[in-house]
């Protein structure tokens, strides 16, 4: 049944195919740079992590099962977990008000969320060093209140690291959360109200459950970012908070131990991946439960 194609059609097809190939080649420079900076070193590090004096070995990983590394991992997980939780608690009300606000108010409030993103992480961390230091504004306020008499060493430690990291990570939670809240059909809440639900009840039984997936994806982003975060805990932890990322830096720059460094890096990716998979399963479970109702 098929008629032979005229020469013209064949020629056009050939040109189209050649064009598609050359268009694909346009991505090459970007791919080469990313391969050179991220992909090849990544694969090389994985190789290094299994390499020791006597060839292939698991020694690099075996030495990570040590009390001091375990402590670092626990601190890192605690830090990331607490930061994620606080971001969710602080970010949800602001996202909800962004949703309720009129267009002008929303644009105004959005500046507060976006401005930190445009500011260097270093500047934001420095801000907290100033605020939390001995002569800082927080200590001054507490002394003025009479709560304390001598300034507290607030600027160095777990609390300072958490505060600084929440400040840095909060926009990353608000953006996906707000986007998902905006996608919720407002008619649903209105329908609940017209069926006699009080505003509180309409919020908790209609709006809140529908916003959970957006909240979860924001929390996952924050958690994963926080796991590998270096600058803020290094500056605000005051040497008392040694996170996994800081161990990586130390083992490379101080000990020049490439094998251990590589194993530390691989371990970070594996832990992050495991937690993501776990969260995905919990998230999937949640959705399955929601679908059953």
């Amino acid at each position: 049944m098929m008629q032979p194609k005229p020469d013209n059609a064949l020629a056009i097809e050939r040109i189209a195919r050649r064009e598609a190939a050359s268009l694909g080649a346009l991505s090459l420079p970007a791919l080469l740079i990313i391969a050179f900076v991220v992909l090849v070193p990544g694969i090389w590090l994985i190789g290094y992590s299994f390499w020791g004096r006597g060839g292939l070995t698991l020694d690099n990983f075996a030495q990570l099962f040590d009390a001091s590394y375990a402590r670092s991992m626990i601190v890192t997980l605690q830090l990331a977990g607490l930061v994620t939780l606080l971001c969710a608690l602080l970010g949800y009300p602001l996202s909800y008000v962004l949703l309720l606000a009129g267009p002008r108010m929303r644009a105004f409030l959005f500046c507060f969320v976006l401005f930190p993103l445009w500011t260097s992480v270093l500047v934001r961390t420095y801000a907290w060093q100033i605020i939390l230091q001995r002569r800082g504004i927080v200590n001054g306020f507490l002394i003025w209140l009479g709560v304390i008499e001598t300034p507290l060493p607030l600027a160095n430690g777990f609390g300072a690291a958490v505060t600084g990291m929440v400040h840095v990570m909060l926009p990353f939670l608000i953006m996906p959360l707000f986007a998902s809240m905006k996608a919720i059909d407002p008619a649903l809440t209105r329908a609940a109200a017209s069926l006699g639900a009080s505003p509180t009840r309409a919020f908790w039984s209609v709006f809140a459950p529908m916003s959970v997936p957006g909240l979860l994806s924001g929390m996952i982003i924050v958690f994963v970012l926080a796991l590998g975060f270096y600058v803020t805990p290094a500056l605000l932890g005051g040497g008392r908070v040694i996170t996994w990322a800081m161990r990586i830096e130390q083992s490379l720059m101080t000990s020049s131990d490439w094998g251990t460094t590589a194993a530390l890096g691989v371990a970070l990716v594996v832990v992050a991946g495991l937690i993501l998979a776990l969260m995905g399963r919990v998230g999937g479970l949640h959705r399955a439960l929601g679908a059953e109702k």
């Binding site: 598609a20 346009l26 990313i34 008000v97 100033i130 400040h167 460094t261 890096g265 990716v269």
Partner: protein, 267 residues
């Protein structure tokens, strides 16, 4: 009724306002601090002076670090914008089966923790002699900026009416001519936002710079990080204020660019 509803939500508004304040106030607080006359960063400052700005402008080391950062950021901006635009164009027009995989690789630098990219780059660059070179820093920063540029320009390409391109091509324009004369003028605002984001990505980048730059080629962020690690140096308040001013300018520019884009899209 409306008033009652707003009143009932008052506590919600208060919490949201406090969170918004939490996001911006700490950064804003640096600005008055930088004009303090005191060596100790007490708030409010006991007196006002420009001594920390003088200290910054008078320091050869800080000046050198600033120029290093500016040069690297400018090169990164040009490289990432051009390469990112090529990639977006190829991905959008090409519709290859591999597109998904290519896009996934392009996003990698934005997903992998910076500390791991830094370690990997350090180890590889050590082998090929790129550590502590401008080329190494520019390559690494370009890789970091590419995902954002490709996302920004890519979304503009999705919104663009490609019949205009086809019209130009049917009138005899080569793909390049059509792009330069027809497509680019319609998208220049997206290119501008992509370029600005690429510039700031490089200028503000800390972790990779800590690992692969030092000495004469230390970036501003590397020098700031080292200084902050040792002590709270008030000179940094002046530098931070300049950086904040810089961020404000870039943010306003990008908002203007977004407005221009929207005006074009609707007009």
């Amino acid at each position: 009724m409306n008033v009652a509803r707003h009143l009932r939500r008052l506590w919600l508004y208060v919490i949201a306002a406090l969170v918004a304040l939490f996001l911006v106030a700490p950064i804003a607080l640096i600005v008055p601090m930088s004009f303090s006359a005191s060596e100790f960063l007490t708030f409010p400052p006991p007196g006002w002076s420009l001594r920390w700005y003088q200290a910054y402008l008078g320091s050869v080391e800080w000046q050198r670090a600033t120029w290093v950062s500016l040069r690297i950021a400018l090169c990164t901006m040009v490289l990432a914008t051009i390469i990112g635009a090529l990639t977006s164009y190829g991905l959008h027009r090409g519709r290859l089966r591999l597109n998904g995989a290519i896009f996934g690789i392009i996003l990698l630098p934005a997903v992998v923790p910076a500390v791991l990219i830094a370690v990997g780059a350090f180890v590889l660059f050590a082998r090929v002699g790129l550590n502590n070179t401008f080329t190494g820093l520019i390559l690494a920063h370009t890789a970091l900026a590419l995902p954002f540029v490709v996302l920004l320009i890519g979304s503009a390409m999705r919104q663009y009416d490609w019949d205009l391109d086809r019209a130009a091509r049917s009138l005899g324009a080569s793909p390049l001519r059509a792009f330069i004369d027809v497509v680019f003028p319609q998208m220049k605002f997206s290119f501008l936002s992509g370029a600005l984001v690429a510039f700031l990505t490089s200028f503000d980048e800390v972790v990779i710079s800590i690992f692969i730059s030092s000495g004469d080629r230390a970036t501003l962020t590397k020098k700031m990080f080292t200084a902050l690690r040792n002590d709270i140096d008030p000179v940094i308040a002046a530098i931070a204020t300049l950086l904040i001013g810089f961020s404000v300018v870039v943010m306003v520019l990008s908002i203007v660019a977004a407005r221009g884009r929207d005006a074009r899209a609707s007009g």
